[in-house]
């Protein structure tokens, strides 16, 4: 495996007294695409929050390019080149479509992504650019959320359930766009309920179960029974 861009070890994460992650370990290589799968409440979103700084933990639990970032605030993590497409899209309702994209570029990192590049990827957004983001369909909102993350020109991008609540045809479109998004050296973590989808776009996967890593391996060769066991915890 190439040098890891992200190395998580011994990660415990909490909501108040409630522990959501237990001793999670995970590595992503430069340019690698990982799938994170797991049932509802397994801790996938908590893992995304912990990497992006929305949930702050002990510094050494999350290492990014050799630097301990586990205790940084989300804005500091963003500046280092990690972007999150959050679960449920979470666009800014007071901002137009274009403003949602522009604010994604606020961190000021250089790279291939710009307003024009995003509009080229999702032409419909250019047509709708002056509209309120809440007036878009679910699929278009997801495009804005993805575009907003890309505008930061991240080196590591986190997708949390980008197909949640979307029609199958839209999901197909968005996954068709993914290879064009995760190009040249960008690394990605893809959280997804749809296991087949997740495995098809990733090289390796991690399965979470009740806050722990229950299985990890190569996406192409994993046996379905093993995943079922790791997913639902049935022996």
């Amino acid at each position: 495996m190439p040098d890891p861009i992200l190395r998580i070890s011994g990660l415990d994460a909490f909501y108040g007294d409630f522990q959501a992650l237990y001793d999670v370990a995970l590595e992503a290589g430069e340019g690698e695409v990982l799938a994170i799968i797991g049932a509802n409440g397994a801790g996938k979103t908590t893992l995304m929050r912990s990497i992006s700084g929305l949930t702050q933990n002990k510094a050494a639990m999350v290492r990014y390019r050799g630097e301990n970032i586990g205790a940084l605030r989300a804005d500091e993590v963003a500046a280092k080149g990690i972007a999150l497409v959050p679960e449920g899209r979470q666009l800014f309702p007071s901002l137009s479509v274009e403003e949602n994209l522009i604010i994604g570029g606020q961190v000021g990192r250089k790279g291939p992504w710009s307003l024009n590049a995003v509009y080229k990827l999702f032409p419909i957004l250019q047509e709708r650019r002056h509209q309120q983001s809440t007036s878009l369909s679910g699929g278009q909102q997801q495009m804005v959320a993805i575009g907003r993350a890309l505008m930061a020109n991240p080196d590591l991008i986190l997708f949390d359930e980008i197909s949640l609540g979307l029609a199958p045809i839209i999901i197909k479109d968005i996954y068709a766009a993914l290879p064009g998004i995760i190009n040249e050296g960008m690394s990605a973590l893809i959280v997804e309920q749809d296991i087949t989808k997740a495995l098809s776009v990733s090289s390796r996967f991690y399965c979470l179960q009740e806050g722990r890593v229950s299985l990890e391996g190569a996406s192409a060769t994993v046996a379905r029974e093993d995943i079922s066991r790791a997913y639902f915890g049935v022996a």
Binding site: A74, D75, A78, S94
Partner: protein
């Protein structure tokens, strides 16, 4: 004609109330903070203006050049050092802390300047007037109104046309996601308070030229500002101006009927509007 005059004078007075209200509206809009000390900060600005005129020999309007930046810096420091610590799910801590701040400001002003009413001396400006359409208009009230319109227009422009305004709106929408965009909300809140107190500085100076003031009048200014914000609809800056004007007109018309009714009439109109339209006249859409 007397009634027309009352309406016109009330409208001009409304400009001053809009200045009281704009800062209040801004910080509530950005960080959902109700600043109980807002009125006292207006009075503090008036006293800073007074000191600038007496110590530096400046005209009160020139004192704006000193007081506006001073209040803005104070706002940023106040927010970063104290108020950010109080913000969270619970709305009580910021209320208590700004109430405490209100008491501290009043007592400090009392120590520094005594309880005697004071006034800034703006020379000929105070009494200058011109006639228009058969009415005699004071230059100062007209100037205050024009400044209020300018301030509201400037804030509106900042909010909807600048990167800072975009950051304000995004942070107001969703603090966590704004943080993901690389915006440190503590800094953004600091900037919002700086801007709010810069406006408060203008309000304080215009107040201090128009009437005499003493350390105890902050509470009343807070109420006027608060009423203007609510009448206009939370989060709507032009609505705040309209709210100020409605309050000002209600007060001058009340005073015309019976001088003792000035404040009462304002409060009554406020209560009636609150009863009929609990979200104010022009609430921000979607909230």
């Amino acid at each position: 004609m007397e009634w027309v005059n009352a309406v016109v004078q009330g409208t001009l007075l409304g400009g001053l109330y809009a200045l009281f209200a704009a800062g209040l509206s801004l910080i509530f809009g950005v960080m959902r903070l109700v600043n109980i000390a807002h009125g006292d900060l207006i009075v503090l600005a008036a006293y800073l203006g007074l000191s600038a005129t007496t110590l530096l020999g400046l005209h009160p309007l020139a004192a704006l050049l000193v007081v506006v930046p001073a209040m803005a810096i104070m706002g940023y420091v106040l927010q970063r050092a104290i108020l950010n610590q109080t913000l969270g799910k619970d709305i009580l801590p910021p209320l208590l802390v700004t109430f405490g701040l209100s008491v501290i400001i009043q007592n400090t002003l009392l120590e520094a300047y005594s309880a005697d009413p004071q006034k800034m001396n703006a020379g000929a400006l105070e009494t200058a007037s011109f006639s228009a359409g058969g009415l005699s208009l004071g230059v100062l009230p007209v100037m205050t109104f024009v400044i209020a319109v300018g301030v509201i227009a400037g804030l509106q422009w900042t909010f909807y046309r600048t990167a800072l305004g975009r950051a304000f709106r995004a942070t107001s929408d969703n603090q966590e996601i704004a943080q993901l965009m690389g915006l440190n909300r503590r800094h953004i809140f600091g900037l919002a308070m700086a801007l709010a107190l810069a406006v408060t500085a203008i309000a304080g100076i215009m107040l201090g030229i128009r009437t005499s003031f003493d350390p105890s009048i902050g509470g009343g200014r807070l109420i006027f500002g608060f009423e203007a914000v609510i009448i206009g609809g939370l989060g709507n800056l032009w609505g705040t101006l309209v709210g100020g004007v409605i309050l000002g007109v209600a007060q001058t018309i009340g005073a015309k009927i019976d001088p003792g009714w000035q404040l009462l009439a304002g409060h009554l109109v406020f209560l009636i509007i609150l009863a009929v339209r609990p979200n104010g006249l022009f609430p921000r859409i979607g909230e």
